[in-house]
Each structure stands twice: as structure tokens, then as C-alpha cells.
């Protein structure tokens, strides 16, 4: 495909260029130049994405752009290229759209920071990598983006590296992600071994030629799942995301809520045919998602950091998406991804606005009653909270309901009900902890200090305008995917050619479908009501009573996963590493010394014979002669 559309290939390049300009000439750039450059780069990307989106309106054929030959090794050769289909273009819109808003927001949020150009360098780098990730036509290029976003994330989490915790968090995120990357690498190896290519489309096509549910395809699926859990902070690799909140809040909004963490979902959706062929792997995905959703929701209950609540919420919501892809409801997952991007970004930006207003305060216990001081922030945050809680007619309602319905209707007979219940409970919990979050910040008593009050101010328009825009989407986005059984569903139709919605679902009676809708509304309502009762009516007293219980402590610490990993993975690894270092120093190195000592002994033995006495030398000669004769005699006898 040629023409204007081909320029879309430049989208990542533009972002990269923005990153390079900020990186190389950062010192020369005066504020707000870095932000402007970064925003322009992303804005251009948005324009290009829209062009691509438009061009794909009429066509189901993906847009393929070949860049250049990258590798060529034996059986498989690989050119870098973009494969832009309806799925990717949707992702691109999210990335550049939400990305643009967050860039603009950041101009305000980060104003005055010394590392501004470094900040935008990282942000643009991230956008570039993320675009590459979603546009890639091969696993390899996707992996390039995959690692690229990881690096962007690393750079931005550790943006304020002077504090040890921040650097530690960045390090943790990087390492945990790297574990997932091992899965990605191994998956690629297995794919090459099996299919002889890394082209995603080709692999998807070829996957169905294998035996259904065979070990190989299941293996690939599980390895890809490992990769996805790393990037998307799912069990068992979810531990890095709460810590990642150490980064600037817009970063959390963009990377750790809207885009990067959804890469795992995207990966599985991208390889939908393959997963459809690997039921075991798919089931694993679903279970991972459901359990993560539940556990993260639990953990979210006990957090006191405004951002950490959101972080666990993100993990939980990603769990929903995983559950969706796990049961084969790919478009549903993408739909939730889409809506979640808006309201979660909005929540983070709202939180950022609050933090900004309070001069860096992040503890929910020292907030409250801010709704009347920060009207725009409060209102938009309320919308987002309602959206994520699944209140009807807001975006989150539609997408979450679709997930619940599809899980219930999925063919995982028996298990589907359990999964459904788990997710339903999680949904209710979501509503509960989100209201805890909202009430804690915006309603109730003002618990912040007087010093903070003096400085209290609503954020400047450059920050609030993005909030408003996101709020609009948080409401509107849901209408792209109204329940299928009753309404036209644009997003399902749009994604159909890209994700193979072939996975079959039962189609129960419409009445049952309505019951399911009612149940999810009820879940939201229960959560909401409980949240209202506990935090608004009782002023948090029931929670306070639980306050220091063991369960609460456990939940606050992310249900002990960190401690568990420290004990089971980190400490043994460190022990092993120390042990090996010791072995290296004491055994292998000593071995060399030992050999030298042996040579020294031999040398001494050789010189010992040299006694200095001529008569002894003569004896040696005579003995030598006898040796000669003996050797000859014995060899003669032997032969």
C-alpha cells in the first residue's frame, strides 16, 4: 500500500526524533521547548494514526510496510516491517491519543524540573517503542518495541534517581520485566524452531496446521504468557508495578496504566489464532487474569498511597483483560483495554493533579475534602471512578460487563462459572476500593496540613484540559461496544478481521444476558454502596478497626508476594551468586595456583637430581645405558 498512508511508518520515527532532540540538545533547550517538541512529535503520530485509521475503514486488509532487511540466518530471514491492521491502529490511536494528552499535561506537571528534557526524551522514546510494538509485523520487531518500552519505563520510573527508592523501583521493574522477556525470547526460539519464521501473520496462519492443543503450541502459548505477565504485571510477575509508582505521575498514567502494561494483552490478542489452538495455554491465561484481578483488588483495599491504589487497580483491571483473552474474547479484552486507557489515565492524572496541588503529598490519609478545592480534578476523577467501578452508561460498565458475560458464556465448561464469580467479586471490590480512593481524597474531612492548605490550588489549564478530554472519553468510549445481543457493536465488528473472534461462545437466551448485565450492575452497586457506607457514612471506622490486623498488613504489602519472592527467588539467587563467586575465587582460581605449585615441585625434583657430584652423574649415565638396554630387551621380548 502506498500513498499518504505509508507515512504512518514515520510515527515511531518522529517520536524517536523527538526523543533524540531532547536527549542530545537537552541542555540547550529552554522550558517549555522540551515539552513542546515531545508533544509535537506525538501529535504528529496521532495525525498519522488517524490517517491509518481512516484508510483502514474500508478495507480489512492490513497495511504492510517493509522497512529493511534485518536478519538473515539460514532457514529464516527477516525484514523489519509494519503490519498495521485494525487492532494495531486502535492501539496506535490509544498510544498517540492518550500519549498526547499526557505529554501536554506533563508540560504543566513537570514545569520547573531540572531534568525536563530527559523526561520528554524518555516519554518520546517510550511512545516510539510502544508504537513499534503494536505496529510490528514480526515477533522480533515486536520484541524490539517490547524491550524499548521496558527501557522507557526504566528511565522514567527512576527519573528522580537521587532517591534510592526510586532507583530501586526502576531496577526492580527492569529486572522483573526481563524475566518476562526470557519468556518472549524462548517463545520466539520455539516459534522459529516450529514454524521457521517470526512473521506474526504467518505464524498465526501456520499455527492451525499443527495438532490442536499440541505440546508445542501450548508451550509457545505459555511462554508468551510468561512474557505477557511480565509486561502486564500479572501473577506471578505483578510485583514491580506498585513500586513503579515511584515515577512521575504522568508516567504512571501513560506507561503503567494506559499503554505499556496492556502490551501483554495486546500480545495475546495479536496471536489469537495461536492461543485459540492452545486451549490449555488459553485457560492458563484466563486463570492468571482472574486470580490477578482478585488478588490485586484485595491488595488495593489496604493501600494508603493514592498512586498505589491505582496501581493495584490497574493490575486488577489487566487481570480482567487477561481473563477475557484467556476465554477467547479478544475484542472484548481490547475493548476493555481501550476504555481502561481513558479512565485509568484520567484517574492517574487526577491523582497527579491532587499531588501537584498538595505539593507532593501522596498519602490518602492526609487528604480528604479536596473536591471543593479542586473542582475540575474532583469532577473528572468522579467520572473516572464511576467508569472504572462499572456504573452503567459509563465506559467501564460496557467493557467490564462484556468481559463478565463472555467469561460466563465461554466454553471452559465448569470453570467458566468459577471464573465468572471470581471476576464478579473482583468487580464489586473494584467499585469498593475506587470509592475508598475517591472519598478518601475528595470527600470527607480535610486531613491535610495547614501548610498544604495555604498552597492549595487547582492545576493550570494545561493540566486540566487533558483531564476534561479524558473524562469525555471515559464516558463515550463505552458506546463503541454496546452489548452485542441487543445493540450494534462497532468495536467487535471493527476488530473481527484482525483478532479472529472465532473462538466460540455459547449464545444463551437474551434474558440470561440481561441477567448477567443486571448482575454486573449489582456488583458495582454493592461495591459502591459498601464504599459509600464505610468511607462516607462511617468515616472509615470499620476499615480502621481492621486497620492493623494481619490481613490488612498482608494486603498492604501486596499480599506478601515481595516477601515471598525475596525468600524464594531473590535470596536463593543471591546465595547462589555469592556461592559461585566464592567458588570462582577459591576453587577455580586456586586451581590455577595449584597447577603452578605442582610445576614448581616437579622443577624442584628435576633439579634435586643435579647433585653436583660428577660420580653421581656417571652413575646416571650408566643407569641410562641400562635403561636403554632394558627397554630394547623388554620390547624385544614383548614383540
Amino acid at each position: 500500500m502506498t500513498g499518504l498512508v505509508a507515512w504512518v511508518a514515520l510515527a515511531p520515527a518522529l517520536a524517536l526524533a523527538g526523543s533524540l532532540i531532547n536527549g542530545l540538545f537537552g541542555r540547550e533547550l529552554k522550558e517549555p521547548a522540551p515539552g513542546v517538541i515531545g508533544s509535537v512529535a506525538v501529535g504528529a503520530g496521532l495525525v498519522l494514526s488517524v490517517i491509518a485509521f481512516v484508510s483502514l475503514q474500508g478495507s480489512e486488509e492490513p497495511l504492510r510496510i517493509t522497512l529493511w532487511r534485518y536478519l538473515e540466518a539460514g532457514g529464516f530471514d527477516l525484514s523489519l516491517g509494519f503490519h498495521i491492521d485494525r487492532l494495531s491502529v486502535l492501539m496506535m490511536l490509544i498510544i498517540t491519543g492518550v500519549g498526547l494528552l499526557i505529554h501536554i499535561y506533563s508540560i504543566g506537571y513537570m514545569a520547573g524540573d531540572k531534568g525536563l528534557s530527559r523526561y520528554f526524551m524518555g516519554l518520546n522514546l517510550f511512545i516510539a517503542a510502544m508504537l513499534v510494538l503494536v505496529m510490528a509485523d514480526s515477533f522480533l520487531l515486536m520484541f524490539i518495541g517490547w524491550e524499548g518500552v521496558g527501557i522507557g519505563s526504566y528511565l522514567l520510573i527512576g527519573f528522580w534517581y537521587s532517591q534510592r527508592e526510586n532507583a530501586d523501583a526502576a531496577r526492580k521493574a527492569f529486572i522483573v520485566n526481563r524475566v518476562g522477556d526470557v519468556g518472549f525470547l524462548l517463545a520466539m526460539f520455539l516459534i522459529v524452531k516450529t514454524f521457521g519464521t517470526l512473521d506474526i501473520a504467518a505464524v498465526n496462519e501456520a499455527a492451525t496446521s499443527l495438532v490442536f492443543g499440541s505440546v508445542v503450541v501450548t508451550g509457545i502459548g505459555l511462554l508468551l504468557l510468561l512474557a505477557a505477565t511480565g509486561k502486564s504485571a500479572q501473577l506471578p510477575l505483578q510485583v514491580w508495578l506498585p513500586d513503579a509508582m515511584a515515577g512521575p505521575t504522568p508516567v504512571s498514567a501513560l506507561i503503567h496504566a494506559a499503554t505499556m502494561v496492556t502490551a501483554g494483552v495486546y500480545l495475546i490478542a495479536r496471536t489469537a489464532p495461536l492461543f485459540a489452538w492452545a486451549p490449555t495455554a488459553s485457560a492458563a491465561v484466563a486463570w492468571v487474569g482472574a486470580l490477578t484481578a482478585l488478588i490485586a483488588a484485595l491488595a488495593a483495599f489496604a493501600q494508603t498511597d493514592v498512586k498505589k491504589i491505582l496501581a493495584y487497580s490497574t493490575i486488577s483491571q489487566l487481570g480482567f483483560m487477561f481473563a477475557a483473552v484467556g476465554v477467547g474474547a479478544y475484542w472484548v479484552a481490547i475493548f476493555h483495554l481501550f476504555t481502561h486507557a481513558f479512565f485509568k489515565a484520567l484517574l492517574f492524572l487526577g491523582a497527579g493533579s491532587v499531588i501537584h496541588a498538595l505539593g507532593g503529598e501522596q498519602d490518602i490519609r492526609r487528604m480528604g475534602g479536596l473536591g471543593k478545592h479542586l473542582r475540575i480534578t474532583g469532577t473528572t476523577s468522579l467520572i473516572a471512578t464511576l467508569a472504572i467501578a462499572g456504573v452503567p452508561f459509563l465506559a467501564g460498565f460496557f467493557s467490564k460487563d462484556a468481559i463478565l458475560a463472555h467469561v460466563f458464556n465461554s466454553e471452559l465448561v465448569g470453570a467458566n462459572v468459577v471464573l465468572y464469580l471470581v471476576l464478579l467479586v473482583s468487580a464489586a471490590m473494584t467499585a469498593f476500593y475506587m470509592f475508598r480512593w475517591y472519598f478518601g481524597i475528595f470527600a470527607g474531612q480535610e486531613r491535610f496540613s495547614d501548610a498544604a492548605r495555604a498552597d492549595l490550588h487547582e492545576s493550570p489549564p494545561i493540566m486540566t484540559v487533558p483531564l476534561v478530554i479524558l473524562a469525555v472519553f471515559s464516558v463515550a468510549a463505552g458506546y463503541l461496544g454496546l452489548p452485542e445481543f441487543a445493540f450494534p457493536n462497532w468495536i467487535a465488528a471493527w476488530l473481527e478481521p484482525a483478532t479472529l473472534s472465532a473462538a466460540s461462545f455459547r449464545h444463551p437466551a437474551v434474558a440470561l444476558e440481561w441477567v448477567l448485565v443486571a448482575l454486573s450492575v449489582a456488583a458495582a452497586a454493592v461495591g459502591l454502596a459498601a464504599g459509600y457506607w464505610v468511607y462516607q457514612v462511617q468515616k472509615g471506622a470499620p476499615a480502621a478497626r481492621l486497620g492493623d490486623g494481619a490481613l490488612a498488613r498482608l494486603a498492604r504489602g501486596g499480599l506478601g508476594f515481595d516477601a515471598l519472592y525475596r525468600g524464594v527467588v531473590v535470596a536463593p539467587s543471591e546465595g547462589l551468586s555469592e556461592g559461585l563467586a566464592l567458588v570462582d575465587r577459591e576453587v577455580i582460581d586456586r586451581g590455577a595456583t595449584g597447577a603452578a605449585a605442582t610445576a614448581g615441585l616437579l622443577a624442584r625434583a628435576a633439579t634435586l637430581l643435579q647433585s653436583g657430584y660428577a660420580r653421581a652423574y656417571a652413575l646416571a649415565m650408566l643407569v641410562g645405558l641400562l635403561i636403554l638396554v632394558a627397554v630394547v630387551a623388554f620390547t624385544g621380548v614383548l614383540s
Binding site: 657430584y613 653421581a616 652413575l619 650408566l622 641400562l626 638396554v629
Partner: protein, 182 residues
């Protein structure tokens, strides 16, 4: 056979004397005895010319030289204090083994001695003329080289001894390298 045995015993006794007698002069004289016995043995082996040479050159000239040096250096016997005590038994052991090896090999393939006439015809008693012919035909190069060898020996011996006590060692420091830094 009896002659041989007597000669052999005398020769061996003389040889043992060389390696056992304490006084160097006695040892040297014991060797002279062996050498003379060997000269007689040569005669029994139809080598008259060599027998004569053995007496004149070896037992005569060479041994006189030895005795002269023994006197000159006033050589005493072996030092009384033992050193390398282990060497003696080892030497005997090795010696026995070596002698056994040579003797066994020699006895392995006994050969018939040619008839006396054949020996007589070939060696004609090993007179000077006969040997001389061999020396000036087969060994003409060797004969020349013997000359070179003797020349070398003379030059060598002279150069060693001639410097004699006249040579004064150069006065030089024990070590020319001075330690500059410890």
C-alpha cells in the same frame, strides 16, 4: 684355556686393584699389571704388533705419565670422610647388571672360531706390516685425523699447564653490580 684363565684372573685382579687400592701409586701400578697382562693376551689373539705397542706406549709411556703426575701432585688416596655413601652399593649393583648384560649378549650367539689356518692366513700374527697396511689403506683418513687429535691434545695440554702459577688472577671486585637501592 688355562693360559687364558690365568691371564684373565691376573687382569681382573689388577683391575680390581685399580679400583680398590688406597694408594694412587699402587693403583697405577696395578693398572700397569693389567695392561701388561692384556699385552700377553693380545699375543694369544694373534696381535703381536698391538701387544708390543701396548707394552711400549700404554704400559710404558702413558702409565709413566700417570705416575709422574701422581708424584707431581702428591696425590693421596681417597679422602677418608665418606661422601655419597649410597653411591658405592648402587655402583656395584649397576656394575653387576651391566656386566651381566654385556656377557649375556655376547654368549647369546656363540660363534665357531675360524680354523687356525684361516686365522694365520688372515692375520699372519698381526705383525707390524699387516697392521700398517690396514692403517694406511682403510684408516688413512683416521691416521691423518689422529695427527690432528694429537695436535689438539698437545695444544690443549700446553695451554692449560703453561699458564701455570705465573697467571695472576685479575683483581676485580667480587661483584661489579652495586646495589643501588635496597
Amino acid at each position: 684355556m688355562l693360559t687364558f684363565l690365568i691371564l684373565a684372573v691376573v687382569a681382573i685382579v689388577g683391575a680390581v686393584g685399580v679400583i680398590t687400592l688406597r694408594q694412587p701409586v699402587h693403583a697405577a701400578l696395578s693398572l700397569v699389571g693389567t695392561l701388561l697382562t692384556l699385552a700377553v693376551t693380545y699375543v694369544t689373539l694373534e696381535a703381536h704388533f698391538l701387544a708390543a705397542i701396548q707394552v711400549i706406549v700404554y704400559a710404558g709411556a702413558i702409565m709413566v705419565l700417570f705416575l709422574f703426575v701422581i708424584m707431581l701432585l702428591n696425590v693421596q688416596g681417597d679422602e677418608p670422610q665418606p661422601s655419597l655413601g649410597w653411591l658405592r652399593p648402587a655402583a656395584y649393583l649397576v656394575g653387576v647388571l651391566a656386566a651381566a648384560a654385556i656377557a649375556l649378549t655376547a654368549l647369546l650367539d656363540p660363534r665357531q672360531l675360524p680354523a687356525a689356518e684361516v686365522i694365520q692366513a688372515a692375520l699372519q700374527g698381526g705383525n707390524a706390516g699387516q697392521v700398517g697396511e690396514a692403517i694406511f689403506t682403510d684408516f688413512v683418513l683416521a691416521f691423518q685425523l689422529v695427527g690432528v687429535l694429537l695436535l689438539t691434545g698437545i695444544i690443549g695440554a700446553v695451554s692449560l699447564v703453561q699458564r701455570g702459577a705465573a697467571e695472576t688472577p685479575e683483581a676485580e671486585p667480587a661483584s661489579e653490580a652495586e646495589l643501588t637501592h635496597a
